[in-house]
Symmetry: C2
Subunit: 149 residues, 2 copies
């Protein structure tokens, strides 16, 4: 299977997680972490539900994956996340030394690239724009509805 | 009581937390969060114990404090942390919109100021160098012993 096909499959799983956030009236962002072709962690944004500004999808996915692995490094893992990580999440991914970051849509306001690409570990590869339209639509629809309330 | 005296008292409490990390062979960093003159959260670094690269003292203190308050903002709180926060923790403090950050010693390699001061919320006040020598000694002694092993 090509990298493109694999990326699409796992990004769909991240979108499924984002949908779970949406059902809870959370900003719809989802993430999965993959090791050896298998999903080892699934998470979605829960900042409102948990009253916790650190409860982003990526942070929970990292905690879940490192717990599963039994070590604090994710050097052989790939994270798929629907939206470009914020600086907190990028820096957490940096600490985990994750092998690859794959994200859907850009976040022009809060994405880590607005601060510095150095927040990631220098060895981390990045692929972006996977199912970007679908990931972006979830966000724009959510904020459009929110503004109307 | 002067700000200097108050800072010293609460930094001592953060150092007590760092000592707890040290007892567990963790990098000795501690934090407390204060609201209306009272400590509402205490935490220390647990990255090794929990196998979790996100388990920095500040992250756990934020989760604990927001849980106590029942909201995801810490706009009337001060965090005291023994070492300059890393970019992950600074960005998490940014999301929490914490009123004030007070830290002990600089972290020349991993501190958030090596990346950008913009990781914090623009409204967050910063005081630094509180009991800096004591905070720094904990770190240098720890890493010196570790290198000898």
């Amino acid at each position: 299977m090509s990298t493109e096909q694999t990326d699409s499959i796992f990004m769909k799983a991240a979108i499924d997680e984002a949908m779970k956030a949406l059902e809870k009236q959370e900003v719809p962002i989802g993430a999965v972490i993959v090791a050896k072709g298998q999903i080892i962690a699934r998470a979605h944004n829960l900042t409102e539900t948990l009253n916790d500004p650190t409860a982003h999808a990526e942070m929970q996915a990292i905690t879940s994956a490192t717990n599963y692995i039994g070590g604090k490094y994710l050097t052989e893992c790939t994270i798929y996340v629907t939206v470009e990580p914020c600086p907190m999440c990028a820096s957490a991914l940096g600490w985990s030394q994750i092998s690859t970051l794959v994200y859907g849509t850009h976040d022009e306001k809060k994405g880590y690239t607005t601060i510095s690409e150095k927040l990631l570990h220098p060895g981390t590869k990045v692929r972006k724009g996977i199912l970007a339209e679908e990931c972006k639509k979830l966000m724009t629809d959510f904020f459009r509805k929110k503004r109307k309330k």
